[in-house]
Amino acid sequence: MLRTLLLIFASLTLFGADVNEELLAAARRGDLASVKTSIEKGAAIETKTSYGQTPLYLAAMSGHQDVVDFLLAKGASTNVHDTFYKAPMLVFVLQRKHYDVAKALIAKGGSSPDDDLAAVGTRNADMVQAVLDKGKPSQASLDKAYEMALEQKQDAVAELLKKTGAQPPAPAVEVDAKVLESYAGVYKSEQLPFDIKVFVKEGKLYLQPTGQPELAPKAKSPTVFEYAPARAEFEFNSAGSLTLKQGGGNYQFKKAVTP
């Protein structure tokens, strides 16, 4: 009896896995009929690949509008981040220029305007408008996006955000020239495979990671500097050390060379 029950359980589990796989594959290739059949057979609408992609995620990143519309109507969640890139589906949808799919996800999805605004960035006015049409983001999100749009010279996006109520960015904090000079040098990290050169040019602090262009961060305080386009913050903790804060990580650098 136990053996029979185990066999039934095993075959049901296998069946579940198979229909879920079918659903994921059908969503990825844009096969609406098979998507419907898989769901009728009992496939889980939020089933995931090993990278955390749901059927809606796969259909959206492949630009299959009809499958996206169907899954959204079935209540599929848009608030899904994959487990590898930790990216919301909107990121890949926009990267592949599936703008109509992006608009559908924004309009019908359950994610917040703040999350949507962060995902669409500040380079496409049409997409920013789609986010604003859905609802007003928080003041902090608006202001941050506005500052980034100004930095990137995205005038149309900046204008949209300003009209929605974004406030002009606070001016940079004035930092004493001697303090800036004390930061100059080459910083090395045990955590990251590049150095950061820090230097002062025409009274402004610049940072240059190895192999990358010069960055001109904005002083938020005498010790903290922000570079908005890369969402990076540099904190000079004490003489000779620097912390790079980016993407949720904190990376320590120590000054190895003083000019």
Binding site: R28, S62, Y85, R96, L192, T210
Partner: protein, 442 residues
């Protein structure tokens, strides 16, 4: 009879001037005894011995045996097709469903004259390609008697060095692409390598990955080992240890060593990047493996002859089997090189880093030239490193503990293929031509 036997043996033994496979002898990238030029200008025709147009698109490297150079190419009937260079993260493949011709060509090393060309296959590509890649990305391999070319889904082809087709082998659909979206096909690129009388092929694809050995004589499969792997693009390396030869493979789920005679798995090591493209190199009793994609960008220095699961315990960077390691700093496309006492890595954006090969201590890190995009792997000879850029220049850097840029030499065409060394010649494959440079080229 005895005399004939000696002659045949001599004909099949690699000489100092030969460059028989991807990255030359043992995939080292090092040309022992080679004296390539330090300065040239292919645009002004300075120190250029010859220049020969090679039709089609290919990022495979030239190989050299004796007085012959062998190259592969794929010629699309869509004349607009090109390689997209530069630093970009786009994942969408190129869709070119036009008819292609896959060719193997032999050139005279002294003159660049095309001695023969054979069409291995004609048809529509079975898989797509990455914008930076081609339908002929694997470098051919030769033992001086047989030249083997691998064209992914189009198959494995063996020719005599005179251009006679000896055998062909269908190795199945090689749909190597983005792990995150299998529809983003990027094409196969791992090159075949020769071990004794076999040609070994690493086929990491979306499903049913494997490594196999085929008889050089007739293409018969001699062994095949399944690999629990997702797509990868690195070429396997044969490493000769004290009492065994092993095939070292760079793969996502694990870096692995196999007995080169039987295909039996000997050791595994992780973690590794989700996309692996570089080729392992071996020197001074160590095997160096790098990878440069998230979630980790490791460099491992593995002791030759190790067995079992070599994965380090949490927080450890070395062990009885691992001389040193780091989880940051591994490179994505260019393979590393060991030259003298140093391990050098070149990142996609041209950051050259030098390490003490024995200890892993970082000696220096320097941007080569003004940066740009780097895909070709560095090679070395006569105390210098040769580093080619997609912008069409080859930088010559002094080898050693201090960075010193000696020369920047224009080729005038995008370079994605790793150059080859042959005696006094440096052989560079540009986007449209094969060039031979020498110090007295004029």
């Amino acid at each position: 009879m005895k005399r004939i036997g000696v002659l045949l043996l001599a004909a099949a033994t690699a000489m100092a001037g030969d460059w028989p496979q991807f990255r030359g002898p043992s995939a080292s990238g090092v040309g022992d005894g080679a004296k390539p030029p330090v300065h040239w200008d292919a645009i002004k025709n300075t120190n250029v011995v010859w220049k020969t147009e090679i039709p089609g698109l290919s990022v495979s490297s030239p190989v050299v045996w004796g007085d012959r150079i062998f190259v592969t190419t794929a010629i699309s009937t869509d004349a607009k097709q090109s390689l997209r260079t530069g630093l970009f993260g786009d994942t969408d493949p190129v869709i070119d469903n036009s008819v292609h011709q896959w060719k193997v060509m032999a050139l005279d090393k002294k003159t660049g004259k095309i001695l023969w060309e054979q069409m291995a296959h004609e048809g529509t590509p079975k898989t797509k390609r990455h914008p930076k890649s081609s339908q002929a990305s694997a470098t051919p391999v030769t033992d001086g008697k047989v030249v083997v070319a691998y064209f992914g889904s189009e198959g494995l082809f063996a020719y005599s060095t005179d251009g006679k087709l000896l055998w062909r082998k269908d190795v199945g659909l090689q749909n190597a692409g983005w792990f995150f979206d299998p529809d983003s096909e990027w094409g196969a690129a791992s090159s075949p390598v020769i071990h004794k009388n076999t040609v070994i092929l690493q086929c990491d694809r979306q499903k049913d990955s494997f490594i196999a050995a085929y008889d050089l004589k007739d293409g018969k499969e001699l062994w095949r080992t399944a690999r629990a792997e997702i797509p990868a693009w690195g070429t396997p390396t044969i490493v000769h240890g004290k009492d065994r030869a092993e095939v070292v493979t760079n793969g996502t789920k694990a870096i692995r060593g196999y007995n080169a005679d039987t295909g039996k798995e000997l050791w595994t090591l992780g973690p590794n990047s989700e996309v692996t493209c570089t080729t392992p190199v071996s020197a001074n009793g160590l095997i160096f493996v790098t990878a440069g994609y998230p979630p980790v960008q490791p460099i491992y220095a593995i002791k030759v002859g190790s067995s079992g699961d070599l994965t380090l315990k949490d927080g450890k960077q070395s062990s009885d089997a691992i001389a040193w390691s780091t989880q940051r700093g591994g490179t994505y496309l260019p393979s590393p090189i060991v030259y003298g006492d140093h391990l050098y890595t070149v990142n996609n954006n041209g950051i050259l880093t030098a390490y003490e090969a024995k200890t892993g201590q970082r000696i220096y890190q320097q941007r080569v030239g003004e940066g740009g995009s780097f895909t070709a792997s560095p090679i070395a000879a006569a105390g210098k490193l040769y580093i080619a850029t997609e912008d069409g220049d080859v930088f010559v850097v002094k080898a050693g503990p201090q960075y010193e840029l000696i020369a920047k030499n224009p080729v005038g065409e995008a370079i994605l293929a790793t150059p080859a060394l042959a005696g006094d010649l440096l052989i560079v494959r540009g986007a449209k031509h094969l060039f031979a440079m020498a110090e007295s080229g004029n």
